[in-house]
Amino acid sequence: MSFQKTITLKVNGVNYTRTVEPRLLLSDFIREDLLLTGTHVGCEHGICGACTITFNGDSIRSCLTLAVQADGAEITTVEGMGSQENMSKIQQKFQEHHALQCGFCTPGMLATCEDMVKKYPLTSEDEIRDGLSGNLCRCTGYQHIVDAVQAVVKEDKRDVS
């Protein structure tokens, strides 16, 4: 017995229509059906944050979402965030501050950082560390990621004034 549903969604500006099983996780749909392997899969129960993507403007765990629930959604994965020639601001700061080593957590970290910079004032280092607590990184010890986020916040403030 297998059930099938057809969904239409926009990923990184491209429309896709696909038929999927209801039990297919959005993370697996992105990686295996769309072949966008920038989204990483770690724990598959919402703890590690590696699969975090942007879903209708909000950061979410793609492993805790069914592909069928993304019908009609607009999704951005790390592939749609910027390019090597034209990186997003948070990507630039990650590079400048060496905020990655092996890179496994980075796509999820970037999605999380982008959303938290948008939604919170992040006036203290503690606030940034709390915001990062849902994403595990086993290389950097987080300090360089905190530095990168602080650099974005600082620059944003300068942009405003």
């Binding site: 017995m1 297998s2 059930f3 549903k5 099983e21 209801p22 039990r23 996780l25 697996d28 598959e44 129960h45 919402g46 944050g49 975090t52 879903f55 909000d58 950061s59 979410i60 765990r61 492993c63 805790l64 979402t65 069914l66 069928v68 629930q69 999605a111 999380t112 959303d115 938290m116 939604k119 560390r129 709390d130 915001g131 607590s133 849902g134 994403n135």
Partner: protein, 312 residues
């Protein structure tokens, strides 16, 4: 891990959702899925049908109700509760406590109805709703029934919801005037489930005609240290009618709370440690709420003095 096979339907109305739920032996509601999906991924649960209620406008949003209360649709997301100006104005306790609810990516998707229905003993929303005397709307095949949070929460991960019933709406009545609150939570990392959390509200009488202001209403709730979130009415009653709180009363209240709860030992903490946390955190939280009540009393008096000066 990957989920086992199931069917999936999007409900188009609450009645449709109830019909879908009733159509299968092993059906389950999915809203944000932030508690359900890990369980399904681990195959601890293998539903035959998931009924998606996230596209029902009736279950969305926060409305003002007569008399200063609010009514929250069950599919309203945590991040909306966290940022709602109406909630900030009427129930700042909720706004303050929401930052403890998991991580932003979870708050962006998880819903109040989902958290209550999942009934994790270490989750914030069951405690908050218990503290605020929320009334839950439950819709099933025979229609709507309304019950208190206390009746709703039966045990760890257990509620009175029948298999074909849906929690659709949460009504929170207004708090008494002159209410102050404090909320504290301890977890191993920010966003983890709580080892212990304590919430306290204190409402003072008006003190009109020169009468001493007294505690008119007091609420003390704990979670993470019991099968369900729990209110400690014996401790609350000890506070009512008092015009001052000294450390011996605060100690006594905390002792009552600690002896009422029945914490578990698990991977994260022993029952003894949880009891210790409950004792210390009740003292701290009650003291904070009382200090806030005193401070707002003083500022109220100052306002009155300023006003009378202006009148002169």
């Amino acid at each position: 891990m990957k989920p086992a096979i199931f069917d999936y339907e999007v409900a188009t109305s609450i009645e449709h959702a109830v019909r879908l739920l009733s159509s299968s032996d092993n059906s389950k509601i999915i809203a944000g899925g932030q508690s359900l999906m890990p369980i399904i991924n681990f195959r601890l649960l293998e539903p035959s049908l998931l009924v998606d209620i996230t596209r029902l406008p009736d279950l969305q949003g926060i409305k003002s109700t007569l008399g200063g209360g609010i009514s929250i649709g069950a599919s309203t997301k945590h991040h909306e509760l966290e940022t709602s100006l109406l909630i900030k104005e009427r129930f700042p306790l909720i706004s303050d406590a929401m930052k403890h609810v998991a991580h932003l990516a979870i708050r962006n998707k998880g819903t109040i109805g989902g958290s209550l229905s999942h009934a994790d003993p270490a989750a914030e929303l069951p405690l908050l709703m218990l503290l605020l005397d929320a009334v839950l709307h439950i819709t099933g095949p025979t229609g709507l029934r309304k019950i208190s949070v206390k009746e709703f929460l039966v045990g760890a991960l257990t509620t009175i919801l029948e298999d074909n019933e849906i929690l659709t709406r949460i009504d929170i009545p207004s708090l008494p005037k002159r209410t102050n609150f404090a909320f504290n939570e301890l977890s191993q990392r920010a966003g983890d489930l709580a080892l212990c959390a304590v919430g306290v509200t204190i409402s003072m009488s008006s003190g009109m005609l020169g009468r001493t202001k007294k505690i008119k209403d007091a609420r003390i709730g704990l979670m993470g240290v019991n099968d369900t979130a729990i209110r400690i009415s014996e401790a609350e009653n000890l506070l009512i009618g008092r015009s001052s709180l000294d450390s011996s009363i605060i100690d006594q209240v905390a002792q009552i709370c600690t002896s009422t709860i029945s914490p578990n030992t698990d991977l994260h903490a022993s029952a003894d440690f949880r009891r210790h946390l409950a004792l210390q955190m009740t003292k701290k939280t009650l003291t904070e709420a009382w200090e806030k009540a005193q401070a707002s009393k003083t500022s109220e008096n100052q306002n009155k003095e300023n006003q009378s000066e202006e009148n002169l």
